[in-house]
Symmetry: D2
Subunit: 342 residues, 4 copies
């Protein structure tokens, strides 16, 4: 049996560990062959492959990025896209099944392709931890560790200058990275997309911290929305056109805090450092196990399934169950953390 | 209500984060007061306490060790030990309930004391991850990250010299640290207490790796036992008297590998570096949540209960369920990892 | 003898280690007493002090920030500023001499005050490594290590997506952090204030890297200037008013690269993470030694002097020699690194 | 011109960065060709080579170990050893000159070979920093950072249990790693080969620390000698035969401290973790610059020379000047650190 592997969407520490886990397990246990599909779905649409044998995965568990390359290509678009063309490409290359490693978009596409008869097994990949049907996805732990280390560093500067530091972490639609790194870093407020807050509430927290003689540290997801945002923006004369130029939400919030509280405030956008580089040990273990389990799912012809983490065990679920909606931070989890605010 | 907190047994990253989580939650939500019990059960037996207010837990989430001190004192021993004396000490200090943070020994003692009527809630603490009834305990993640970083470093030296490196990690009775760090570090064999192996099997793996042109890296738990150990030892003229002087099991295995395979072999014992210092973000979050949940359990008068991690949620279980036996690495988990050996 | 210590200017890992080194050396060797001057020169102008004994410096060698606080106050300004007022404040507090830890502005002020008769010894502090008369200053090594780790992480994402990454590091006037972190991180171009380059030259390097099948990584100092900047800016319709809103120079360069080469390009501004948090071992040793040497300089009444690093030795030089101009990256050092570009 | 490169002696972070720096500089600036000599001098004696082009050094600046392999082979031994045989091997492979990267033994051999007419340039390599004629050698900074991180971790456990921690670092003949990591880690005593101390002196420091309510942390070089060692050993019944079995000197000192002071004491031997893995940014820069300078020295036919660090500049000195004796910790440097003991 010959298995193609693809990695799709944004970079994520652990992609290479999944690839290695799958190849070693497949070669040793099931006598599978492997082929690398280059640059996500694009490789299937544009017929780009690379050899992927046991030797080529050596040392990959600790290597960031993906040796296969990635892209955001939609497999249903373009003249060679769509299930029939892709099946033809697979047949032409003797590929019996595909392991698709990706986030919501990738998995949704994989699901549609399996419904059209393709042999695909999914592996969840999201820095943001926003996929349902898995406790965590690899990459998230690494991102949280990196963000936490940055918060630890920024805190000392906040204290030295009596400043407020606003640290912007990843999370366009969900606040998991902010929630965990903020709790780990001892943030005085955590602002996430699921919980819009007004600038007044934020300044209350900030002033409360200042009144206790401390320097406030605020962690904010990139996708956080100020409630009453329009009004808040208009105080600075901001409009839709200027918004993207201003960088992240932290660069909106920090000046507002300074203006209203008089506390010198600084924004730091952690950006892409959260999604590259060597994975944490936690993510290496998770990614390796998921890769191995994906091969077993293929061995069992569980097309349309996705491997996932449940407690300490690797489970097999339907891709559909993972893509029904984003996994958001629950009010209970937010309230738990909010006890530590201010 | 006035709560005493104690930390007992070996050091573990995250102890301070539990203390901080408990105090902040208790002060802010339940209006509890706190007092620190010094050096584990010894503080209760010898009447040693320290103030523990909101101010004293500042910055503790990222600080290793325990500000309360620890010991391995058995609360049932000594002239002031036993439930009645301890209850008297609690009464004399106006303490209504105790949060006991510790491993199997500590929790077993806590369980017996609650059966005698004391108001105690337990928090599981074990570097080794050997407690039942919780998916993970804080400290384990940090230990695995530290061990993995060491394995990463030792590997390059193994490759430079064509050597076999035997890395000894913590785990007297269970192999969780070895299993996770070995998988994360890409070890060519993982040796754990649950799975005795013969020196012949180990040398087979080593030679297989060498034959592929690579340098073998072996991760071994301190509690691993060579099957046919007596015989193996006698080849080196070792006896019971000499054993402890030789240091860890890695220092027995490495020379045996060298002798039998001709591959230069070196042992490294990671030792106490695995249990000190700043906790990882993962452990800070887990420890903080457990501390907060322990306060809620006290608020709910759940005496004899222990807070625990189940999937992504903090649960409350009976201490008894956590101390019925050690949580060992299952054969399934070991076999999963063993696919990558050799 | 009673010594006041102040830390002034931007935060810098190692400030606390200088304070600890000075206090321990002074107390143990010279029987000096110490007092903390709060928030840089502001403490002297506004009469803000804090106790600073042996106990208060415990554990400080590894702690980022400054327990004394910092500010950018000019000691010659304000109604209580100027040498006479400051001398009066010192007399009123029984302070015989001051250790001033700071960068160019701080040291220039210190120099002027010593010319007016005040007893001051300087300790050089600059993340940017821009002070003359010392090989390196503490904080620089830590900043380079942090920036290098970020570059390592960003590189894997660059490779995964075939992108160009533009990493902006600190260095408003000099390019030392960019030079060292860029060389350590294997950057394909390093852009520094001392060496203006045209966008054409930058795109040449980028395309050369792409043509070799690699993903370009560019490291740029915040103070780098594009030669022909006006024209380059005008292609994007940028003007002086918009410049600050666009964030850093990397956010100007990345879109220009993408526009001209067609290679998807991303900017990351590392920002304040480079100047906070625990100092590296290198910086702890350097800072500790400088602090101890400053006390000796006071013991020797070397007013107007600054302690500095020369090779492996701590030297005493005049503050004036350190503030005659910025220490810039020489053409020879830049050319040495440029061999690795493209 | 065709250049052979060899790496010899113990592993050291930065070896690969030297190789990369040399190859890139040589190919780009001097149009040199390169060939890899396998496993140190053994490759020259046994005719083992590997291709070494521009492509093969990709990504090497951050990779620990040496892609060329290493050994401790003496080039004057064996039937194909000695200058004439080696010159014949070089001629047969068209090699015009050799870059020899190694420590005292390697460089001494290189020096003798150049006296016999071979074209060799040396690059100093020593974790221990024991080579004269260079301020620092690459690998040392990384080792100090790793040791310091371990000391930071061990300290929290010392404090939690009120224990004395004895941390053994590398340094068979000189105490540089202990001096720097001990100073960075805030050790209460630093024990180095250059400064024998009695167990009484050590216990004095330990008790002084304990009396101040702290937990003592002692850093000791592996090559430290207890003064009055014979007597000290005999108190434990140790003899020459048992010594090696006991592991490192820390495992002798810790029990003696415990026996004499009553303070529970633990030994940790950091071992090989100090010499493997990714180099620090400092070492990457130094190693890269040394590799580039070695190529220039070859271009200038400076046979018998060694590249070295002097202040911030790379210098060219004679190998002879670096091997006249070990660079030891001076009494002045030790006394400087000793102010912080106890």
């Amino acid at each position: 049996m010959k298995i193609g592997i693809l990695t799709s969407g944004g970079d994520c520490p652990g992609l290479n560990a999944v690839i290695r886990g799958a190849v070693l397990k497949g070669v040793r246990t099931h006598d599978f062959e492997f082929i690398g599909i280059r640059n996500g779905w694009r490789g299937l649409v544009q017929n780009e492959f690379m050899p992927l044998d046991r030797h080529s995965v050596r040392g990959l568990s600790r290597q960031g990025g993906t040796i296969l390359g990635s892209s955001r290509t939609n497999p249903f678009e373009g003249e060679n896209g769509g299930p029939e063309n892709i099946q033809r490409t697979l047949d032409a290359n003797g590929i019996d099944a595909v392991i698709a490693i990706g986030g919501e978009g990738t998995l949704t596409a994989a699901h549609r392709l399996t419904e059209a008869g393709l042999n695909i097994v999914g592996v969840p990949k999201t820095i943001d931890n926003d996929l349902e049907a898995t406790d965590y996805s690899f990459g998230f732990n690494t991102a949280v560790e990196i963000a936490t280390e940055a918060i630890d560093r920024l805190r000392t500067t906040a204290e030295s200058h009596g400043r407020c530091m606003v640290v912007e972490v990843m999370g366009r639609h969900v606040g998991w990275i902010a929630l965990h790194s903020g709790m780990a870093g001892g943030a005085h407020a955590i602002l996430i997309p699921e919980q819009p807050k007004s600038i007044e509430q934020i300044c209350d927290w900030v002033e409360h911290v200042r009144d206790r003689g401390r320097a406030p540290v605020i962690v904010v997801s990139e996708g956080f929305l100020l409630s009453g945002m329009q009004e808040a923006h208009s105080t600075k004369g901001l409009d839709a056109f200027h918004r993207p130029r201003l960088g992240g939400i932290s660069e909106i919030i920090a000046p507002l805090i300074e203006e209203r509280t008089g506390i010198e405030s600084r924004a730091t956008v952690l950006g892409h450092t959260q999604r590259g580089g060597a994975p944490s040990a936690y993510d290496r273990v998770l990614a390796t196990r998921l890769g191995m389990a994906a091969v077993d799912a293929i061995h069992n012809s569980q097309w349309g399934s996705m491997v996932s983490l449940r407690g300490t065990e690797i489970d097999v679920v339907s891709i559909a169950s993972a893509t029904i909606g984003l996994k958001r931070v629950s009010p209970a989890r937010y309230d738990e953390a909010a006890v530590l605010f201010g």
